[in-house]
Amino acid sequence: MIAIRNVKKSFGKLSVLQDVSLDIKEGEVVVILGPSGSGKTTLLRCISFLERASAGTIAFGDDVVDLKHASKKDILRTRRREGFVFQSYNLFANKTAFENVYEGLVSGRKVPKKEAKEKALEALDWVGLLDRKDYYPAQLSGGQQQRVGIARAVALEPEVILFDEPTSALDPELVGETLEVIKRVAKRGITMIVVTHEMSFAQDVADKIVFMDGGVVVEEGSPNDIFTHPKEERTKQFLKRIIGEFVYEI
């Protein structure tokens, strides 16, 4: 189990995360929803040390790491438990699709080369891009790049994969193929925390939905609870605003 406790983060005087705690069970898919500026992305970046939190801890089982005072060693160990899929893909521009996955295994995780090669090819095949393995990111569409990004994270077999708005930068017609791949990651039983604005996807894939606003967790529950019986007024308003059209479709 992963336990995130009392995470706080301010940028100067601006408090972005007030006091966020979250539990994620093994194999659970947690989707974080909320208006922009609610701190969703910052939460992911704090638990992966891409931002230094002002306070808080993350625990993988018994291994508790202080998000503010973690040493380089703590950070490396924690990051090697995590995978990260970025909004803007962030593929290594000088590496082919294959090398993007392979490099992480070899340089990031010290997997032996032969094994890394097999794993990288398998992961690319799994996201349906084996025939594009020798293409550089500049030669791939946004959707394909993001699938390589997902393959890169999955191949590492981390304890949890963090998705930071994985489809927000994509052209609308490419969102579908990417969401399909993410659903397959979820079906594999990999623990995931997903920040997204894709409501129907969230409802489909989530075991637990967390609604954040103003740097706090306003409400959490099953997709059914949140989408059909939201308790908090802020959740109701948000859903009404975002998925108004979507509700009419049902």
Binding site: L76, A93, T96, G104, S107, Y135, A138
Partner: protein, 235 residues
Amino acid sequence: MTLDTKFMIEALPEIIRYVPVTLRLALGAVLIALVFSGLFAFILLKKVPVLDKIVKVYLSVIRGTPIILQMFVIYKIAPSVLQAYFTKIHSGIDIFEIDNSWYAYLALSLSATAFFTEAIRAAILSVDKGQLEAAYMVGMTAPVAFWRIILPQAIGVALPIMCNTIVDTVKATSLAFAMAVTEVTGAAKILGGMSLRYFEAYLDIFFVYLILIFAIEFLLKRLEKWLVRYRKATA
């Protein structure tokens, strides 16, 4: 006065004999500059206290003065300062026995280092920070991420700018004659002086430099193309 083509042809081998000197000066200066500019760029990017100020002053001084002037200063002042130092520590080294090309290396590399430093610093900053974050998130340490991901891309960006500095350095070797180092230009001057056929001698080296620089640019362009092969957008 007619153009003495016979002299031009006869003088050419004499001049070409000094091409290796020119190339050695340029290559030596570029290699020294590569080492120090890497170090200086690191100091600037990491904002190392005190040292970064010193590097900035150094950059301003070098960029703000002509290279020929820097050479005069080095050639006139450095020996006396060093001699005084060597005498003080009783090293027994006679400064006037040191080969003049060392002053040329010093002057040429001081200048090249300054321009390389700026090129490298800007190139490293040009690599998207997201890739560094991705490198961290696959579990790379900062040095590994730098060597495997950032540096290879930065070199591709820096090379066209550094190519200019390399060409400038090759051309600046012609000033080494001011420090009593005989290279291509020096050889032409001597031959011209002996025969009073300055124009022909200079015309010779005109072509020698053109061909030399053309060859260097050609090679560097090929290298650059190979380094940034990942940028092409179509398969």
